[in-house]
Amino acid sequence: MMFAAAMAAILTSMAMLLVRAVQGPTVFDRILSVNAFGTKTVLLIAVLGFLTGRPAFLDLALVYALMNFISTIAVLKFTRVGSLAGGQQLPADAQALQGSEAPPETQVAES
């Protein structure tokens, strides 16, 4: 019963992250959502293992925790440097990237 409650909470939070992933104005919002979604997936798998009575499947959760991290780092390196080789930023990449997200503006919030 408690596992079902946890499962419901995790699924709801996944839905919220999905909305952010689709909506997120900048590209970084999407990266953030994917990363958080990955963590939720790890928790989902752990709770699912207990829910269905097969907790031995935690190896899967481990793999996901690792893969999620690696792909987040890869994506971030791509956006920062424009290539994955650790070399100089290619102008074409940077332009394509800058052009593809909403231009960052400093907003002054009303307090």
Binding site: M2, A4, M7, L11, M14, L18, A21, V22, G24, V27, R30, I31, S33, V34, F37, G38, T41, L44, I45, L48, F50, L51, T52, G53, R54, P55, A56, F57, D59, L60, L62, V63, Y64, L66, M67, N68, F69, I70, S71, I73, A74, V75, K77, F78, R80, V81, G82, S83, L84, A85, G86, G87, Q88, L90, D93, A96, L97, G99, S100, E101
Partner: protein, 327 residues
């Protein structure tokens, strides 16, 4: 411990609804980079679905490949091409639409002859599957029936799959050309001390985990393919943080190429050895005096072969993709 089988239908529906929503978003999104990120989420949801269906080995592979490696490769492709897709103006084309509907209808009509989904009386459940489930314990003696089917009962199929991976690698090598040597400038991420230290802590753990998955595949989810991908992921992480130049010095091209072929060779060699010992190709019973022990040796060796080839192919492809500077 609370356990038992519960009805996971509701979870299935919710996850499938997520999939539909994500797919719709991927199709509609003009920004290709965002679309690639969303396919990462798609992969994650698929793995959850597989997990709900009790197909853990498949979920394992989906996790390793979809969430990690393929996102990285797609990003690299994006770097070489444009970041946005062209808007297409949709006109209704009647001819192709009619063709698609007619063929789709014929296909659906063809499925009426198939047994109902999940029907326990269907041949796929009563014939081969039943035999595997009943006999696997005494004939092969390892708890993970997926591995015993993959490695032993359907060993020829797996050999074909490994050869396919090998062939695909050759195709990519031919297409992307001989990598050029060149000086690379400093690594942008190396100055980031947080990433460096976490990477140093994580990479050995990931490698040990890959070995665990490789050899524990008999008893739990895992096996050669997943282990190879996880091993490659460790090397990908190293490359990302410390730069391609250093990574290529450690994992040189020549040994990588040899390993790509070596895994398949190992697999084939096991088959030839069993033939030399008097049995059929890939008949592991002949590898030891006790047939069950022979099965264990056979599965161990071929899984090793699969793992070696997959790891080497993934690493080599990653290096190739990252090295290219223009399409």
């Amino acid at each position: 411990m609370n356990g038992g089988v519960i009805d996971t239908g509701l979870i299935d529906m919710i996850l499938l609804a997520f999939l539909v929503a994500i797919t719709w978003a991927i199709v509609r999104l003009r920004d290709l980079f965002g679309a690639v990120m969303l396919t990462g989420i798609f992969s994650l949801i698929s793995a959850c679905l597989f997990m709900v269906m009790d197909a853990v080995d498949v979920a394992f592979t989906e996790a390793a490949v979809g969430a990690g490696i393929s996102t990285v490769l797609m990003l690299r492709t994006l770097a070489l091409t444009k970041g946005r897709s062209e808007p297409h103006h949709n006109r209704l084309e009647l001819g192709p639409l009619l063709l698609v509907v007619v063929i789709g209808a014929i296909l659906i009509y063809g499925t009426f002859d198939m047994p109902r989904y999940g029907d326990p009386q269907a041949p796929v459940h009563t014939e081969m599957a039943a035999r595997f489930i009943e006999q696997s314990g005494e004939e092969i003696g390892i708890p993970n029936i997926v591995t015993s089917v993959l490695g032993s009962y359907r060993g020829y199929d797996t050999f074909g799959e490994t050869t396919v991976v090998f062939t695909a690698a050759i195709g990519v090598f031919l297409l992307l050309g001989v990598p050029r040597r060149g000086r690379r400038a400093g690594d942008a991420l190396r100055n980031d001390i947080v990433l460096r230290i976490s990477a140093k802590a994580l990479i050995p753990l990931i490698m040990v985990f890959a070995l665990y998955v490789q050899f524990h595949g008999d008893y739990g989810p895992g096996g050669g393919f997943q282990a190879g991908v996880i091993w490659a992921a460790a090397i990908v992480l190293y490359t990302l943080v410390f730069g391609l130049a250093r990574a290529e010095k450690i994992f040189r091209r020549r040994p990588l190429e040899l390993l790509v072929a070596g895994g398949v060779l190992l697999y084939g060699a096991v088959g030839v050895v069993t033939m030399a010992l008097g049995g059929n190709f890939l008949d592991y019973d002949y590898l030891a005096s006790d047939p069950v022990a022979g099965q264990h040796y056979g599965i161990l060796l071929i899984e090793l072969g699969v793992g070696i080839t997959v790891a080497a192919v993934m690493v080599a492809l990653f290096f190739l993709f990252v090295r290219r500077r223009q399409v």
